[in-house]
């Protein structure tokens, strides 16, 4: 009799303990959802919902001025039309050229600059140099584009510099069909360089010193160490920069809008600029969304490559 009572008592103590724990856990979970509420709401309403709407609109022929709900579902027609749209193809081509040039050139320059700074500057100097190089990156796009626009103008300093370097008859860079895109690429490389030098610099500081010391003892020259040690050891940083560089190059917009407005003709049209034009000038919302979806898919591919690379490493 007493034994049973005791057992019952123990059992009830245990359940109340468990109940307390459960209550505590539940309270903590409730708290967690409360903490997450603002960003979760934002996530749902300002990111996921718009994304779904975008995906849907891209399948319609919606023209914004026709008003909400006033659209026809056209299936994949927009996506089919894209491939015979010369402006889209030009934009896509320009975006790809832009990326393929600015990313490798930028990474190469950044690597060389970062290695030089790391090898030949003291701690304090290298800090100052990095900040100096970083300035273009934090400056707003409209201001830097305007500055470069004047530099590129027919008697601007850049054009004069080209003359001084022996270029007999330099073009008006931003209004030349062949030179406008390269001119913008140069600005973007310039703007991005400091950021990449900074990333490389930070990565170089984390490299193992002893490896370099033993390489020196073995008689390796500075250049050899750079090629055999530094570059391979920085693979992860380079990879990260390649991926983020591709993503940001695919999204370039401000420089184009301020410096050339896509022109002359279609020579500097890039994807985001085309989306902007379609959606907010021509009000072809459905078609513009289709271009945005293409951009999304391309970026998704890049991210998938990154993800697979990272998971292989782990």
């Amino acid at each position: 009799m007493t034994k049973i009572k005791q057992e019952q008592k123990e059992w009830s103590v245990e359940t109340s303990l468990a109940k307390g724990r459960q209550q505590k856990r539940r309270r903590e979970a409730g708290m967690a959802y409360a903490f997450l509420l603002p960003s979760l709401l934002g996530l749902l309403l300002l990111s996921l919902l718009p994304m779904l709407i975008s995906l849907y609109i891209s399948l319609t022929d919606w023209v914004y001025t026709n008003g909400l709900w006033n659209w026809n579902f056209v299936g994949f027609q927009n996506f089919i039309d894209l491939w015979s749209d010369s402006w889209f193809l030009k934009s896509l081509g320009n975006t790809v050229i832009f990326t393929v040039v600015t990313v490798p050139v930028g990474i190469f320059l950044a690597l060389v600059a970062a290695a030089l700074i790391d090898s030949f500057c003291g701690e304090q100097t290298s800090g100052v140099v990095r900040i100096a190089l970083y300035m273009p990156h934090i400056c707003n796009i409209v201001a830097t584009s305007t500055i470069w626009k004047t530099l590129y103008s027919s008697y601007g300093p850049f054009t004069n510099l080209m003359r001084a370097l022996g270029w007999q008859d330099p073009p008006k860079f931003l209004v030349s069909y062949t030179w406008a895109l390269p001119a913008i690429m140069l600005v973007v490389i310039w703007a991005r360089l400091g950021y990449w030098v900074f990333l490389y610099g930070a990565a170089m500081q984390a490299l193992p010193v002893d490896l370099y010391e033993s390489a020196s003892l073995d008689g390796a020259s500075g250049l050899q160490k750079f090629r055999r040690l530094t570059i391979p050891l920085l693979t992860n940083t380079t990879f990260y920069m390649t991926v983020t560089g591709i993503i940001s190059s695919f999204q370039v917009f401000g420089y184009v809008n301020v410096m050339t407005g896509g022109g002359p003709k279609d020579s500097t049209y890039v994807l985001v600029y085309y989306i902007y034009k379609l959606a907010f000038d021509y009000r072809r919302t459905g078609y513009a969304s289709a271009v945005a979806v293409v951009l999304f898919v391309l970026l998704l591919l890049v991210t998938v490559v990154q993800y697979r690379h990272n998971s292989r490493k782990d």
């Binding site: 903490f35 997450l36 709401l41 994304m51 975008s54 030949f120 305007t146 400091g194 750079f226």
Partner: protein, 289 residues
């Protein structure tokens, strides 16, 4: 530091080489900064001298007129630069505040609190990084016009509530804080929110500052969103104002450069002031410690 530096580099030849390299780095800095140097010089020139050959980058005279005209103190034209400043300061501060607050809360939940679906939610957050803002731009415009947020600064501020990178940074920072501290405060009877606000947030202040600085600068420089959501001149942020200004005065180089100067100086100042935090924030995700 100096991982690639040659050991025993004291021969004259090597010293000369090093000097050469330092000069090269100096030249690189000058080249990188030259557009800004030219900007400052041109902003101080009379219009006729800006593109004239042989004047040099800096004029031999003092001519602040361009600045006075941009700011509306002379020339009789008011470009409302000060209003642009105010709008930009307001939008950037609120944006950075919203982003910092929401990412701080979310980061804490992910790092310290146990709840069902924590992992899945975190993956959902990270997946947001894959969605380019251009994909959501058109529907955001449609939604914001429906609820009359177009042509208000809220259209620029509200989307900052999802700052995935910032959330990630905050989570990392909170993961680095000690669990004992939290337990001790709990035993003393402090509620979760109190622990968060009074104990945890002060510990991760440097990360909070990094997030705030990063978000502030990105909001200050934001261009595409304002271009689409704001078309009432009164609400123009600095980039829009500058854009508009440049279109109006496209032939007056000195004046344009003065305007660019005025638009870039504050962000340089914020950057120099907060670069310690800012630089720290940049390496998250890029360099694995």
């Amino acid at each position: 530091m100096a991982k690639v530096r040659a050991v025993g580099s004291n021969t004259p030849q090597k010293r000369r080489f090093r000097l050469l390299m330092v000069l090269l780095i100096g030249a690189l800095c000058l080249i990188m900064l030259s557009p800004f140097i030219w900007m400052v010089g041109a902003s101080l020139k009379r219009e006729a001298d800006v593109m004239k050959q042989g004047i040099g980058w800096f004029p031999g005279y003092w001519y602040p007129e361009n600045y006075l005209r941009v700011l509306g103190f002379s020339g009789g034209k008011n470009y409302h630069f000060m209003r642009g400043y105010w709008n930009s300061i307001k939008v950037s501060t609120l944006s950075a505040g919203v982003a910092a607050a929401s990412s701080c809360l979310a980061g804490y939940a992910f790092a310290k609190l146990k709840f069902k679906g924590s992992h899945a939610l975190f993956i959902l957050y990270l997946s947001q990084m894959m969605i380019p803002s251009q994909l959501t731009l058109i529907p955001r415009f449609v939604i914001f016009s429906e609820i009359a947020l177009v042509n208000t600064h809220w259209a620029l501020i509200l989307p900052k509530i999802i700052a995935v990178n910032a959330t990630f940074m905050m989570r990392q920072a909170f993961l680095g804080t000690s669990e004992e501290l939290r337990e001790a405060a709990k035993i003393d009877g402090a509620g979760e929110f109190r622990i968060f606000l009074r104990i945890m947030v002060p510990i991760i202040k440097p990360t909070l500052a990094a997030v705030f600085t990063t978000q502030f600068i990105s909001a200050w420089n934001s261009y595409l969103d304002p271009l689409i959501f704001i078309n009432r001149e009164k609400l123009y942020t600095l980039p829009l104002l500058l854009d508009n200004f440049v279109t109006m005065e496209s032939t007056q180089y000195g004046l344009m450069m003065a305007a660019c100067c005025l638009a870039t100086i504050p962000v340089f100042a914020v950057f120099l002031f907060g670069q310690r935090f800012f630089m720290k924030g940049l390496t998250v995700g890029a360099v694995k410690g």
